[in-house]
């Protein structure tokens, strides 16, 4: 029964979601609303589950004094401070000027932005080492990247203007052409491929052929 019930739920929900797309009337519209609400409830619970799991893993790391256990201490303290201040703020806990808002503005935003900003340095270093015209394919990729990078910033056209390039050869126009023609064509092919893959996998899941999501056979 541990397998049959989840398989049954998956099958019924999957079939209802397919049918309600083509028949948006009673009872499918009602079932669609019902299942969608359940999905939102489960997704909201998953957020709590994730947060509690983070605390559990961090506590275990601190308790066993694993390598780098100082970081989980910061996680636990930050988590508790944010939760306590958030709950203490009542329903308006996110309003401008509240403690939670202060943490968000002066701690969360700078820290997460700093982490993301490191990407610029790694991208630059990786581009230097990896963007080499080793063969024909790599050269095409390199040229596309070159024109998109220079064409997506105003300085590209400014440089082209200095050397009096015609309008059609301006980097911004070349970048637009690459994005609208070459990129869009490639993206379409990828999207159609992904869509076909999703359809086949979904059918396998709904019909109970694919059971890996239950823990694997």
């Amino acid at each position: 029964m541990r397998r049959e019930i989840p398989l049954l739920i998956t099958g019924i929900v999957g079939i209802v979601f397919i049918l309600q797309y083509f028949v948006p009337h009673y009872p499918f519209n009602m079932l669609n609303a019902w299942f969608s609400d359940w999905f939102s409830i489960i997704a909201a619970c998953a957020i709590w589950l994730g947060a509690l799991n983070l605390i559990k893993i961090s506590t275990v790391k601190v308790y066993r004094k694993k390598a780098g256990w100082g970081y989980p201490v910061i996680i636990i303290i930050s988590f508790l401070i944010t939760v306590v201040i958030g709950f203490a703020g009542g329903q308006d806990f996110r309003a401008g000027g509240s403690g939670f808002d202060w943490i968000y503005r002066h701690s969360y935003i700078p820290l997460s932005s700093t982490m993301f900003a490191l990407l610029a340095f790694f991208v630059a270093s990786a581009s230097y080492r990896a963007f080499r015209a080793r063969n024909f394919d790599a050269t095409l990729l390199l040229l596309a990247a070159f024109f998109v990078m220079i064409g997506r910033v105003p300085v590209g056209d400014a440089i082209a203007g200095v050397i009096h390039l015609p309008e059609s050869l301006m980097p911004s126009n070349i970048a637009v052409w690459i994005m609208n023609v070459i990129n869009a064509a490639g993206q379409r092919a990828i999207m159609i491929g992904i869509a076909l893959g999703i359809v086949s996998t979904s059918l396998r899941v709904i019909l109970g052929i694919e059971r890996a999501y239950l823990g694997g056979d």
Partner: protein
């Protein structure tokens, strides 16, 4: 380890000294700005020559240059012409066609790491909506989205032109907050907004909001704008809101995500696209926040330059630096390849000579 801590302490000390001693705001004159740019260009040429001579660049050198390229432009007074791309023009035209009082749904589907690209778009979009007396309904499929919307609203309301309009919460805009459930939220909103957002961001019941009066589902929304940096985002909005409910949707995407949504632009499923910081700067220009090309801009109105236009100088510098190092890297690759071939040829000829002498 001790050496590293000394470096960190040194950086902190220098930062503190600069923070307290240097007069604010720091701004280089155009002459100083161009001299700095010239000096950096000279150093890059020097690195290029060194590379040709066989001395490779250490990656820490690249980090230093990228750091300089991003930071220094904040203090420079360099203006660059922003050219309007077709996808930005389409979005502007779509919003411009809306009549005053039209309801616009804005979904904030991003978090602070993507804010440097998407926040300027949000501010420029709000500015234009309020300027044209459009009614804005905010929501988020990402938990931090509605909080980002609040920051954008606060900044937009500081613009004297908007401040003079005395924008009221509940009447001119509402923030419905975050709802978990990804694309299922969009799907349920097709039937009823209230079912997904019974209370707004501040806990006020949906029915108590004057702006929400008469807004049942997507059929009561004239235009929708999605600020997206991943999943759920523009792709899900197109697949559910546009395809199923016929919503007119514009998108503001990060530069990384923009290529993924271009096919929707060509097919007409998207009514305009702001791609990355460049898209933000272009939209600022077209709505009148760019402050360049003699347009009545943010700088003239408020003394603050539009964020997208301001950050674009850093982005331009960073792109040029990365491209310069890609060229240097390729020079090193080809020269290294040629040297290897020469070396192999020398070895072969030496071997032949040895064979001949034997």
């Amino acid at each position: 380890m001790k050496k590293e801590w000394l470096i960190y302490a040194g950086i902190l000390l220098i930062s503190l000294i600069l923070f307290f001693l240097v007069p604010k705001p720091i701004s280089f004159s155009p002459m100083v700005s161009y001299i700095i740019i010239g000096l950096i260009a000279l150093v890059i040429v020097f690195i290029f020559v060194r590379t040709i001579k066989g001395r490779l660049v250490d990656r820490r050198t690249i980090f230093v240059f990228v750091g300089l390229a991003v930071v220094l432009p904040f203090f420079m007074t360099v203006k660059q012409p922003i050219k309007l791309s077709p996808e930005v023009r389409i979005l502007f035209d779509a919003v411009q066609d809306l009549k005053p009082g039209a309801k616009v749904l804005v979904s904030f589907d991003y978090d602070p790491p993507s804010a440097p690209e998407l926040q300027p778009m949000a501010e420029a979009f709000f500015y234009y909506c309020f300027k044209r007396d459009l009614k804005v309904i905010i929501m988020g499929l990402w938990p931090q989205g509605p909080q980002q919307a609040e920051l954008a609203i606060q900044r937009t309301r500081q613009i004297p032109e908007i401040a003079a309009k005395n924008i009221q919460y509940g009447v001119d805009y509402i923030n419905l907050g975050f709802q978990s459930g990804n694309e299922f939220v969009i799907q349920r909103m097709g039937g009823s907004f209230k079912s997904m957002f019974p209370n707004d961001f501040y806990g006020t019941p949906y029915d108590s909001l004057p702006l929400a009066d008469g807004v049942t589902n997507f059929s009561n929304i004239e235009f929708s704008f999605n600020l997206s940096s991943g999943y759920p985002g523009t792709v899900e909005w197109v697949q559910v809101a546009v395809d199923r409910y016929g919503v007119r949707l514009g998108s503001g995407s990060t530069a990384v995500q923009a290529p993924q949504v271009y096919p929707y632009l060509d097919s007409g499923q998207l009514k305009g696209l702001l791609g990355g910081l460049n898209g933000a700067a272009e939209f600022e220009k077209v709505v009148g926040l760019g402050g360049v090309d003699g347009q009545p801009g943010f700088k003239q109105i408020t003394g603050i330059l539009g964020k997208g236009t301001k950050f674009m100088v850093s982005q331009s510098a960073a792109h040029v630096i990365v491209l310069a190092f890609i060229i240097i890297g390729n020079a090193a690759f080809f020269l290294g390849d040629r040297r290897r071939k020469d070396k192999n040829n020398d070895k072969d000829s030496d071997a032949k000579k040895t064979d001949a002498s034997d």
